[in-house]
Symmetry: C2
Subunit: 111 residues, 2 copies
């Protein structure tokens, strides 16, 4: 999809207050094959930001977020990564973290 | 600062639940001189995302956020814009919205 219009996506999750340090450590050393899978699935300029209380903000750019999510959902390495991430999060109601990403509405943009 | 390394900044604010519709409308029509001031101050790829309950996420890229904030704080149009925005926000404790931007910690990035 070279040259496809990129869309901006922002989502929120909540990391458990007692797991913040370990969450940071894990994300400073994400598996290389997980990074490769994200890139192959079209996740670009992807950042995670953490507030001290565990509120987590995700931001990425991609041509089609539903397609980018589906491509990750079909990836073996993602299934292994998400299974290890589940215990870090609050309030997933049994979902994998990557199945609980609800994009917020973009209300302003300046290039 | 052409070619300067861009840093990613994420911040949160809270829009009053009873002012969400008007907040959206105002941000669909930001004054052109406010947009020009942001660009001149080095705010790049700047987006605002709104959750239904009023939680607002800001994301931007800039070479030096403190300098980018200071440049806006010195701008007349920003003073007028922020004065109009104050009533839209919760919990500013008397601060202007642009003086209440506390960057979250980036814990992960993939280009």
């Amino acid at each position: 999809m070279a040259g496809a219009q990129q869309r901006r996506v922002c989502f929120l999750l909540k990391v458990r207050a007692d797991r913040l340090a370990e969450y940071r450590e894990r994300h400073a050393a994400v598996w290389p094959d997980m990074l490769a899978a994200l890139s192959a699935a079209g996740w670009r300029n992807y950042s995670l930001f953490l507030r001290d209380d565990g509120l987590l903000v995700g931001y990425l750019e991609t041509a089609d977020f539903a397609a980018a999510q589906a491509a990750m959902a079909a990836s073996d390495v993602n299934a292994r990564w998400q299974a290890e991430m589940v215990p870090f999060f609050e309030a997933l109601d049994g979902a994998a973290p990557d199945a609980a990403l609800y994009p917020l509405t973009e209300v302003f943009h300046l290039d």
